[in-house]
Symmetry: D2
């Protein structure tokens, strides 16, 4: 069925390749304890996706390419959550001061890597991520994180809207539901981003960017 659907899109002029631009940055979306630890109602087991992201992260660092993280954090009274927490009451776990809003230890941010605090799904909404990327001369965003049907989807759509070549790394994004994961990667690849395997991204980086360390 997916094959048939893909065929329809191709015939009608969708799902072309965007490709990489000249300078990629890595965007790691919401790999925070609240989402990667199953003890939180919002959480799931994303060990594979976190480990894959860690691999990619170390390559971006070796090549001195920019890295950005996001987390989702709300004030005590959830005023910054707007109507979003009406729809998803569990967002109330993500309060300032809680361990749930901290980046997963396996991906510890280093100096020079900004952790953007957001309140909604998209990494671009209510943040100045786009301005920072503009200043860093970034034209391509390589996206990992969770969840595919939530913040990853919303951020990838916004990344395209903000004018960035957008790459979603299939092995590095996870979802609570396999069906939603696949459906969203399908949509993203048809309309907004190139969905690539991690090996292809690594190969591209190795071929185009020398490592900065001797």
């Amino acid at each position: 069925m997916k094959r048939q659907a893909r065929k329809i899109y191709k015939e009608r002029g969708f799902a072309a390749s965007v490709g990489f631009g000249k300078k990629p940055a890595l965007l790691i979306i919401d790999f925070i304890n609240g989402f990667t630890d199953s003890n939180c109602p919002l959480g799931s087991n994303f060990d594979f996706e976190v480990d894959s992201t860690a691999k990619l992260l170390s390559i971006f660092r070796k090549k001195s390419l920019p890295v950005h993280f996001t987390t989702t954090v709300y004030d005590e009274k959830l005023i910054s959550a707007g109507v979003f927490s009406k729809k998803i009451p569990s967002l109330s776990y993500l309060r300032e001061g809680s361990k749930w809003v901290l980046i997963d230890d396996r991906l510890k941010p280093e100096e020079g890597e900004v952790v953007w605090v957001k309140h909604y799904a998209s990494a671009f909404f209510g943040t100045s991520l786009s301005s920072a990327l503009r200043t860093q001369n970034v034209d391509t965003l390589v996206i990992t994180g969770c969840t595919t049907s939530g913040c990853v989807r919303a951020s990838a759509v916004d990344s395209c809207q903000h004018g960035f070549h957008t790459i979603v790394v299939r092995d590095c994004v996870g979802d609570r539901l396999r069906s939603a994961h696949e459906a969203n990667l399908f949509d993203l690849d048809a309309k907004y981003a190139d969905v690539l395997a991690i090996q292809d991204v690594i190969k591209y980086l190795e071929n185009h960017f020398p490592s900065s360390e001797s």
Copy 2:
């Protein structure tokens, strides 16, 4: 499978009802010839969804509630299309001056109904729709249009992000692919919007808003 998925979401504190606020507006997304006429490569048969939307539109008008339309239009050289037209080359059909960018005649906008020109998927991105709604004291957006997996999804996510109670009318939104239609309504209902049948929206409007005509 969907039932099982819905159960997981409910257990974890997703998919609550947002409900209506105090003043709804109707947002009709991209029901333009290019999308509603199958002679355009971007088009599909959305007769049912357009007719359903026409029904809803006449009720919003009778009750003097705000109505907004969107269209997607690009300059000759597609500079305003950014990387989006790299991913979807067919967007080039939506040039200024073309019949494809005009609102479908069955839904002709009237004076006082703004047609917002957008360049990307979300009705909020690169428009000041949100400011106009703020000035009209609108707190609830009732969304119809196409496509469910494209501009409707992106606009509904942004509507939630901008702080609006968001209602997506199942009978009034359409997609090229049935599977993508269903998958996106599922995501939207779980995280960003209430997905309602048209009768439920009509019933709500009839109960809460007197008709403005004698």
Copy 3:
């Protein structure tokens, strides 16, 4: 000269009154130690303006009307400062963890009052302040803080752009330079906001909103 200039504006259809809407919120911009303590190179003596703001703040609290604060905070490497810190190198004082980025003690935020972290001049840029105000049904923003020619001006322009009735309280906004203070209040009153004396704002609030405490 100002009188002559004002006359020209009036004749040409500028500088009308926007007035209050139905529900005002107080926005206190960047009254942080870095700006209110003259020991910081960015700082000035704003004792009068801070005290006036404290007076207004206590009235908003008594009437249970929403209150919002902003602060400006950068990461260690100033990536979130973009080109802004090239133009204003002193912004480097406003690093995370520094005492300079904390709200002045005379205006201590209480629970239910959000402190928005911004990176640029406007309180709306790169924050979701507008969404929160939308959810709180706020349609009018009463602005205080510093500096008149910097963050206050930029925020007041954006407040108008986002669709809010905008009131700038003359006694509650301050600047390093008297000339810049006056020039910016003049522009704001001509094009974007009503510039009012604190007594007029207090009178309005007392007349329209009962105090919530007995």
Copy 4:
């Protein structure tokens, strides 16, 4: 007095030079008939500034550097004008279909030069100008147009906020009031942009970009 003020800013770490980046675009703000023709209540005599801009425009064209225009246009009922037209009732002259909203003939846009329709002061607000510039790899915005205290100021602040090196060309921006013109150039130079004479901008362009024609 200005000299004294400038000294204070310099001592405190303001008013450094941002400089040019690698790829500039020209942004011509609201040089539309409604503003450049004194027969419109919104208009003034900007012949000198329009002619200076025409000179700069021809250089950007010869060097095949991107050019963008803005205009301000409202719907019949001024819904897209929000509270802005409450403050400035004369904005009602800028209706769709009117000659006032057309770009001044002396600066006729050519193919490949986008005319962005905006509804508020900033060229970035409610447009996707920033995304287009991102796709064109532009990192520097050279700003001309009118008025210095209105749309130019708001756009230059937003340009800085969006991460662009921002150059305001003193000879190419105009205002109804000389005092407002000077006060705003002073603020912009202190905090957001480099204010340069047209000869300096031309010299820079000639030195860094070969003409594309033979």
